[in-house]
Every structure is written in structure tokens, then in C-alpha cells.
């Protein structure tokens, strides 16, 4: 029982990453009809917003300390971050410590801008082009973004820890009547889950309850008619692209402490996020979220020893296997709309 609860927690956590990425991807798919292979790169850029902010905050001046030696035997260069010298030890280090949550504020404008520039500068010209061309141009863009990040940050993962407050794990089992240490779960992963729940709800509320959202939903259903009503749908779609980029970026920022970011993490998620979106059904936001959580939970269950001992290697293929089953039993995924990306 405790093992099952643990894997449900794991599944929700994995699922929230999948759902956030798939949500952004499906906004672009569903609203703009663009196959965006650069979406994984946006997620990666989000993570590197956290890395960058951490670097900026720890910009340092260097003092040579003659009492210590570096590896060549020269006097050791000791770095002191400006922040620490400006605000004093306590405040300075606290700001450094909280660089990941602070990066959220940093990432929102950056990612909105990235999304805006990407849409106006490139994607705009590809709405009428075949999907194949969209794949080629966005894949090329993904490589370019990735290589630029690699040029500045190298290929090695960069540790981006969460604030000390969230280190360690919560003894979740004790709260619901289990013995100590039976169900423990890291604080930061719980934060990630709550964070993604908030973002997902916010996107849904935005689309459901604002006029802007209403127009966009109408545009998704029938772009031409909305255009005929004299509404400038293009401008709104640009904004939606920015929002999708920001959602992917935020997913990346908060993911940085879970796994140290590296330049190709976007590619690792790219294929998976397409599978999630399609399993959820094209053009359906709730479908994408549902599929994200479903696949996350199933993946966690498949990696349990009890399951693996019955079917060895099931954790290697579970996502793809489930995708096949679902697509064969439900022609348009879980909640797909008819006629979206079907030809």
C-alpha cells in the first residue's frame, strides 16, 4: 500500500512536468496549427533562465588570498559575490539561495519575449506552409537554440539547487497514519506539483473566464468566422504563443532543482511531450493535462519492482505501449477534436 501511494505521488509529480509541457505545446498546436519542434528548447531555455539568474546573482569580484594556494601553487583567487558584499552575509546569501524561485519573475518576461519574437519573426510565415516545413524549420531552430546555450554554458549539467528551506523530504506517511519513514517525499517535488496545478488552473481560468480567452477559443474552433467578425485574431494568437512559451519556460525554471539543467534536456522531453499531446487528443487542453498525469502515473507504476519482475523491461516501453493502446481504442486520443491534424 505504501509503495502504491509513493508511486502515485511520483506519478503526479512526473505527470505535472509532462502536463505543463504538453499544455504549452497543445496551445500552439490547437490555436495556431503549428507543429512546434522547438517546444522542448523553450522548456530548456526556462531552466537556463534559472541558471542565468543564479550566475548573475553570484557575479563576483576576485581577491587573491596569499595564504591559500590553487592547484598550480599560485595564490588562490577567492570570489565574493557582489550581492553578498552589498547586502551583507545573511541577506546576500539568502537572495542567492532563493535564486530559483526568483527566476520565475525573471523568466516570465524573458519567455514572453522569446515567444513573441519567435512567432513574429519566424512562425508567422509558416502558418500556410505544410506541416513538414514547420517541422524542419522548428527543428532547425531547436538545434540553434540548443547550440547557443551550449556555447555559453557548456554541455555539462549545472547544479541549480532549491532554497535550503525545501531541501530534504516530508514524511508524508505519518500524516495519513503510516509508520515513520514509510512514505517520504521531497519538499521541492511537492512544490513542483502545487506550482503546476496553479499554472494549469490559471491557463484554464484565463481561457474560460476572460473575453480574450473566449475569442481565442472561438478562433481555435473556427478561425475564419472569427476573422470575418472583424476581430484581429492574429494578434491574439501571437499573445497565445507568448503564453505557451512562458508556460514551458516556467515548467523549466521549477524543474531546474529536480534535475541539473543541461543543454539537450529539451530534446529528452520533446518526443515525450508530443506523445502526451497526441494521446490527450489534438486540440484539447484538458486532454493534454489528463494524458500528462495518466502517463506519469503509469510510468511510475511500471517502474515498481513487483511489476518489473512480472514483465521485465516494461518500464522501458510503458509510455509508448499505452500510447498505442489508447490511439487504437480511441481514434482521436482521449479528448481530441475531429479534423485537427488528421490529414
Amino acid at each position: 500500500m505504501d509503495a502504491i501511494i509513493l508511486q502515485i505521488l511520483n506519478g503526479l509529480d512526473k505527470g505535472s512536468a509532462y502536463a505543463l509541457i504538453a499544455l504549452g505545446l497543445t496551445l500552439i498546436f490547437g490555436t495556431l496549427g503549428v507543429v512546434n519542434f522547438a517546444h522542448g528548447a523553450l522548456f530548456m531555455l526556462g531552466s537556463f533562465c534559472a541558471v542565468t539568474l543564479q550566475k548573475i546573482l553570484s557575479l563576483s569580484f576576485t581577491v587573491e588570498d596569499p595564504t591559500q594556494k590553487d592547484f598550480l601553487g599560485n595564490p588562490l583567487k577567492v570570489d565574493t559575490p557582489y550581492i553578498v558584499s552589498w547586502f551583507g552575509d545573511a541577506t546576500g546569501n539568502a537572495i542567492l539561495n532563493w535564486s530559483v524561485p526568483l527566476a520565475i519573475l525573471f523568466a516570465i518576461p524573458v519567455m514572453l519575449l522569446v515567444g513573441y519574437v519567435m512567432e513574429r519573426g519566424l512562425i508567422k510565415h509558416f502558418y500556410k506552409r505544410p506541416h513538414a516545413d514547420q517541422i524542419l524549420v522548428t527543428f532547425g531552430l531547436a538545434i540553434v537554440i540548443q547550440e547557443i546555450v551550449k556555447y555559453f554554458y557548456g554541455a555539462n549539467p549545472i547544479p541549480t539547487p532549491a532554497p535550503d528551506m525545501f531541501r530534504g523530504s516530508l514524511d508524508f506517511g505519518v500524516l495519513i497514519g503510516f509508520a515513520q519513514n514509510e512514505i517520504i517525499y521531497p519538499y521541492w517535488r511537492l512544490v513542483y506539483f502545487l506550482f503546476s496545478a496553479v499554472i494549469i488552473s490559471a491557463v484554464f481560468a484565463f481561457l474560460r473566464f476572460t473575453t480574450f480567452g473566449m475569442v481565442v477559443r472561438a478562433g481555435m474552433a473556427d478561425r475564419e468566422t472569427v476573422g470575418l467578425l472583424g476581430i484581429n485574431i492574429d494578434k491574439r494568437f501571437t499573445i497565445m504563443f507568448g503564453i505557451a512559451a512562458a508556460v514551458a519556460g516556467l515548467a523549466g525554471v521549477m524543474y531546474a532543482p529536480i534535475n541539473s539543467p543541461n543543454y539537450h534536456m529539451g530534446m529528452d522531453f520533446l518526443v515525450l511531450s508530443f506523445v502526451v499531446v497526441v494521446v490527450g487528443g489534438m486540440g484539447s487542453l484538458p486532454g493534454a493535462v489528463l494524458a500528462g498525469f495518466l502517463l506519469g502515473i503509469l510510468e511510475s507504476f511500471a517502474s515498481m519492482n513487483e511489476v518489473k519482475s512480472i514483465i521485465p523491461g516494461i518500464d522501458q516501453i510503458i509510455i509508448y505501449f499505452v500510447a498505442i493502446i489508447i490511439l487504437l481504442t480511441r481514434p482521436r486520443g482521449l479528448m481530441g477534436r475531429k479534423g485537427v491534424m488528421e490529414e
Binding site: L136, G140, F274, V275, V278, Q316, I324, L327, E342, E343
Partner: protein, 401 residues
């Protein structure tokens, strides 16, 4: 000739000439010159051009004609390679049994995957094929290691049965005694040309399968496939069931991929699981689109383009840059090297990514369109309208034989 129109015959002859003269054409710079770095006329790369050309031609039969975008074609590439290496292990190094098995196995595999995946269309089809290929890759890398040798890749060991192996038979892949990795080097002036047995073996097969695809493009079957791309619903209304046609196209293109995978192992007796990964599937998609989907020569050009950058640009390092620009004054030399540095060696991916974007932005029809434009510029615009690369952009009605 050979059941082709006059225009197609000329086209085929040009292709045959280009393919056979590749070892000379790809070696434009003398050995001693600094630009010899850009020569691509060495056996391994030429073989790759031919093999990935075959892969892309096959992929194009499915994607270019029917519009079904498979994202799992690498699975067939892998199956082909494993089949050939297994034949080496069990029989001997003759490539023929392996290649036959590769085509059969990949055909069967394609029949299975295609039968299931073609129940859906559009992106749903793409994801189904992707899922099958990724499952194959993940299993081949781990659980199926006894069959595939996992991470290390399947290779021949000295204690393998090799029942047909006799005293004098070659110890590397051969075609009835013609050993693949042997080559004749010819020095002409400052140039060195390498005529490799392996390359000509691949090249002849490539010409044959190119001819086959030309026939398919021009056949009633090809027209039917294009009709599926244009409007499947209307086809249904006329009482035609498109499924058997698309399935046939899928299996044919799977067999092409299996053949390509088999040839990879015929040139180099090793089969790695990475050949089945989604990046490999994605690569053939990129090759086809980059070159020009639906055209006959485009995918081959795309394959050559990507393989060229992967193999040539990744090998240029700062030392080579310095030697090129050593004539410049020191400060300027360093600056030029600094400017080029991000795009070469470890940055070859960046160059490739940028070129993808430039090609798709400025040449909507792919590389083949670039070729057409240059051709038109040379021959004069007035003929453009009528002939616009007729052989390459087959128009449904005018070219049926």
C-alpha cells in the same frame, strides 16, 4: 527504354552517370591543397551517401506520395542491420543471404507496424509509428541484449558458428569474393581518387532501387497513392479503399529502409541499437523535407547534405582554421578563426540547424528547388514555365506511362 519515357530515360542516365562518377566528382581539390578538407570522396562517406540515399528514396515513396509521415522508419533500418550481422554470425561473410533476410524481415515488420498504424491518419499515425520504433530501440538496448548485444552493438566474434566459412573465404563482408573494404587508389596529378568495391556495390543497388522508385512514381499505383494524399475522402466516395494501397507503400518503403540498414552492416559489420532511435527516424524525415518531399532526387540530395555536414564539418578544428588563414596578419587571423570557431568542429550541429532554417525559409521546395532555380538561371527563364523540373516534380497527369 526500360519502360520509361524519353525524358525519364535521360534523367535515369544522368543519375547513373553521377552515381558512378561520384568518387571523382566528390574529390574536387588536390590532396596537398588546404581545401582538401572539403573532399568527400573517401569510401565510408560515399557509401553513406548511397545508403542514406536509398533510405530517403524509400521514405519518400511513403511520405512524398501518400503524405503519411512516419516517424519510426529507423526501426526498419535497425532490423535490416541486425539481420545482416546475424547472417554473418551464422553463415559467413557473404552479404547476399543477409541482405535478402534484411528485406524480408523489414518487410514483415513493416507489414505488422503498418497494418496497425494505418488505422489512423495524420499526427496520430506519426505517433503510432514513433511509439513502435521507440519500443524497438529501448528493448534492443536493454532487454533484448542476447539478440542485439545492446549498447555495444551486434558484431561477429571468433567463436561464432559461421557454418559456411571455409579456409580461404574472406574475413570481412564480401559479395561472392569481392571484398567490400578493398579499394583501388588512383593518383592523377595532385588528385587521389579511391574506387572502393563497397561504394560501387551500394551505388549499383542504389541505381536499381532508384529505377524502381521511378517506375513506382510513374505507375498507376503511384497515381493512386497521390490520390490518397490529395483527397482521401473523395477516394472513399468513389468506392476505392485506400488502405491496401497505403499499406503496400508502407511495406515497400519499410523494405527500402531494411535494405539500407542491411547495406550499412554490409559495409561495416556492426549493428548498433542507436540506428533505431527516434533521432535516426527524425533524420530521414529531415533529409526528405530538406531535399524536397515528393520529388525523386530531392531526398537523395537531402541525405547527402546532412551526411556531408556531419562527417566533414565535425572534423574541422581550430588548427585547420589557423592553417587556412595563416596568410592573414596575426590579429586578423585570430579574429577570423574566432568568428568561424562556433560553426565548425563541435559546433557542426549549429551550422546544420542554421542551414535547415535557411533552406526552408528561402527554398520552400527544398534543395531541389535551389537546383531548379540555378538551372533556370543558366538556361534562361523563358523555358521555366513549361519545363519546371518536370522530371522532378511529377505532375499527376502528364507523366503516366
Amino acid at each position: 527504354m526500360l519502360g520509361l519515357s524519353k525524358k525519364d530515360t535521360t534523367f535515369l542516365l544522368v543519375v547513373i552517370f553521377l552515381t558512378l562518377a561520384t568518387p571523382i566528382l566528390l574529390q574536387p581539390f588536390p590532396e596537398s591543397s588546404a581545401l582538401a578538407q572539403f573532399n568527400a570522396g573517401y569510401p565510408d562517406l560515399m557509401q553513406r551517401f548511397a545508403i542514406f540515399g536509398i533510405f530517403a528514396i524509400g521514405f519518400n515513396i511513403l511520405f512524398g506520395l501518400t503524405g503519411y509521415l512516419s516517424f519510426g522508419h529507423a526501426a526498419f533500418l535497425g532490423v535490416g542491420s541486425y539481420s545482416v550481422v546475424w547472417m554473418y554470425k551464422l553463415l559467413n561473410y557473404n552479404v547476399v543471404p543477409g541482405l535478402v533476410l534484411a528485406i524480408i524481415m523489414s518487410g514483415l515488420f513493416a507489414l505488422f507496424i503498418g497494418y496497425i498504424s494505418l488505422r489512423r491518419s495524420g499526427i496520430y499515425f506519426s505517433i503510432l509509428t514513433l511509439a513502435f520504433a521507440q519500443m524497438s530501440f529501448n528493448l534492443a538496448y536493454s532487454v533484448l541484449t542476447p539478440l542485439t548485444n545492446g549498447e555495444t552493438g551486434l558484431q561477429v566474434y571468433n567463436n561464432d558458428p559461421q557454418v559456411l566459412m571455409s579456409e580461404g573465404s574472406p574475413t570481412s563482408p564480401h559479395f561472392f569474393g569481392i571484398v567490400m573494404n578493398e579499394a583501388t587508389k588512383v593518383d592523377v596529378g595532385g588528385w587521389q581518387f579511391t574506387f572502393s568495391n563497397g561504394y560501387y556495390f551500394c551505388a549499383i543497388i542504389a541505381i536499381i532501387v532508384f529505377y524502381l522508385s521511378l517506375r513506382i512514381f510513374r505507375s498507376p499505383f503511384g497515381i493512386m497513392l497521390r490520390a490518397i494524399k490529395t483527397n482521401q475522402t473523395r477516394m472513399n466516395y468513389t468506392g476505392l479503399n485506400p488502405r491496401p494501397y497505403t499499406l503496400a507503400a508502407f511495406v515497400i518503403s519499410g523494405m527500402y529502409a531494411g535494405l539500407a540498414g542491411g547495406l550499412l552492416a554490409a559495409m561495416d559489420p556492426l549493428a548498433g541499437a542507436e540506428r533505431m532511435q527516434w533521432t535516426a527516424s527524425g533524420e530521414v524525415v529531415l533529409m526528405t523535407i530538406l531535399g524536397g518531399a515528393g520529388t525523386l532526387m530531392g531526398p537523395v540530395l537531402g541525405a547527402g547534405f546532412i551526411k556531408y555536414f556531419e562527417n566533414i564539418f565535425s572534423k574541422i578544428n581550430d588548427n585547420i582554421l589557423h592553417s587556412w588563414f595563416s596568410a592573414l596578419p596575426d590579429g586578423l587571423e585570430d579574429f577570423v578563426v574566432f568568428v568561424f570557431h562556433p560553426f565548425i568542429g563541435k559546433g557542426w550541429n549549429l551550422t546544420l540547424g542554421l542551414l535547415f532554417m535557411l533552406v526552408v525559409i528561402f527554398l520552400p521546395g527544398g534543395l531541389i528547388e535551389g537546383g531548379t532555380r540555378i538551372w533556370n538561371a543558366i538556361t534562361g527563364k523563358n523555358r521555366k514555365k513549361k519545363r519546371e523540373d518536370a522530371a522532378h516534380h511529377p505532375k499527376p497527369t502528364s507523366h503516366v506511362n
